[in-house]
């Protein structure tokens, strides 16, 4: 008895030891900088130069919201890309998952893996490839368009509309497979009996999916849309590389300038850390709001 008690007391602090690396690292490299960035956002704080940080209260926030010519533009661009690049693709991913899940299709694994591959490739590689595919004079896209239309070649990477189209294509191409795999797992969890009843009633395929599949998938759609909002509002790498880095600030008419891109520019090119931190918290508020809307809409749809 004595030994067991001693033993159990000794093992008492082992679990704390085992989980401690996460908490130490998170406090030092995660939590502390996050709290510090709230503090920073109230200061005029420059990375270079000798001037000491100066307290400006909400000055950075009001500056960004009322005087900055780029912030609203960047936010609008981000929301547009969120819709065309991240949200609309759920309308492609769900039918794709239904198609692959259909009993008549063989080679499910092949389709699943080939659709998923873009998700694990580095953004730099993806953007370099699509830069070539959408090249004005030599790209395959304009080459293919040339077969059906005699109109002047579209300058995809030099015009504001084209930049948004290419970015949307890249985002769709990269993330559809991931969403599809999630929906595929969701479809496989729907009980088959639900469809049997509909089959007896003679419902069409489309009818079946609208009245059974989609409602059954709602929790997964909510989750997928939430992840798309969180990811989409942070889009930085794709437009940054495609339009040519800090100097270009999103290319023609800043049409590729996203909120996170502008945050990075403000902090690491203009060296204004206080203002950059304020932008970061504003983006965070937008993410929270949009996810609140997502939750509200899902609740409504669930009835």
């Amino acid at each position: 008895m004595q030994t067991i008690i001693r033993k159990s007391r000794k093992q008492g602090w082992y679990p704390y030891l085992f989980v401690s690396p996460f908490f130490i690292l998170f406090c030092v490299f995660g939590l502390y900088p996050i709290l510090y960035s709230i503090f920073t956002s109230f200061f005029d704080w420059k990375l270079i130069g000798t001037s000491a940080p100066r307290f400006v209260g909400l000055g950075n926030y009001t500056n960004v919201l009322t005087q900055d010519p780029f912030f609203w533009k960047a936010l609008l661009n981000t929301v547009i890309l969120l819709v065309t690049g991240s949200l609309l693709q759920h309308f492609i991913a769900i039918p794709l998952a239904i198609m692959i899940n259909s009993k008549t299709v063989k080679g499910k694994e092949f389709f699943k893996t080939s659709f998923f591959l873009p998700y694990i490739t580095s953004t730099v590689s993806v953007v370099i490839i699509f830069g070539v595919l959408f090249d004005t004079n030599y790209g395959i896209v304009n080459w293919l368009i040339g077969f059906v239309s005699d109109a002047a070649k579209i300058r995809w990477l030099q015009e504001s509309f084209g930049i948004k189209v290419v970015l949307s294509v890249v985002l769709n191409w990269k993330y559809i497979g991931w969403n599809m795999v999630i929906y595929l797992a969701g479809l496989q969890a729907i009980p088959y009996e639900l469809y049997e009843a509909a089959m007896i009633d003679g419902a069409s395929t489309l009818r079946k999916h609208i009245s059974i599949t989609i409602p059954q998938l709602l929790p997964i759609i909510f989750f997928g849309v939430a992840l798309s909002i969180i990811g989409g509002m942070q889009i930085f790498e794709e437009p940054f590389i495609l339009t040519g880095g800090y100097e270009q600030l999103g290319g023609h008419q800043n049409s590729g300038l996203t909120a996170a891109y502008y945050l990075m520019f403000t902090a690491f090119k203009a060296y204004r850390l206080g203002k950059g931190s304020a932008i970061a918290w504003l983006i965070f508020l937008v993410i929270l709001t949009l996810n609140g809307v997502n939750r509200y809409v899902t609740k409504k749809l669930e009835g």
Binding site: P15, T40, T104, T123, I230
Partner: protein
Amino acid sequence: MKSSIIVKKALLYLILGIMALVFAYPFYNVFVLATWPGDQVLRSPPHFFFGGGLAENFRQLVSRIPFGRNFFNSLGIALTSTISVIFFCTMAGFAFAKYRFRFRDQLYFFVIASMAIPGFLNIIPFYKMMVRFGWINTWLPLVVPGMAGAFGIFLMTQFLENSLPNDVIEAARIDGLGDLGILMRIVFPLARPAMAVLGIVTFVGSWNNFTGPLILMPKIEATTLPVALSLLNSRVDNNQGALMLGNALTLLPLILIFVFFSKQIISGLTAGAVKG
């Protein structure tokens, strides 16, 4: 009736086939273009077959960026991250899955909740901190903070809860193994399948990381392949052949890993989502 089913089926395969082509063609294109000399990469009509400029492209590539260094940095950071993530996350997952201790549920909730925090919120003070630590242009800021990542802890806790029988642990305890002994000799060997999933996912994520090295490793000799490629891409005297080959060589390891481990990668990357 019969023929309409055949038409439907053909249509289904046609759509899926076209989609597969759309997803696969850009990859094929990377490897095709990597073999054409720099001044012939961009051509109309576009290239569909391989050319003969591979060796020259390689010479151009290594003369423009320290390709060997960049490759070494990418590989070194990815491997050290992978090994440390596997170690620390299995250890924490074991504690959350198999121990009863005070505040366990609250601590686990904290780990899970930390995953929802957007990465950009801490980036500015984090950067200042790295400057102060003298860690800029070293591997440390890309390895150390993520050594015990929340996602890995979640993955390992799930796995060990479901797949590591309590009897095995009890038996080991009766045989006189202590907590560390059980971790080393029982948990690590039995957790191999989940460790493989976590390891591959960590490796891929680290290999592809762009924003991190962009900020933290600005020097071309110190940085990783994706950042070196983006620097090459934005240079005025850019050689297209070198760029295409560099891109192909960045993609190749990933594609090879994916060919062999696609099941583990897909299950690992969708683990949280499919469960939720």
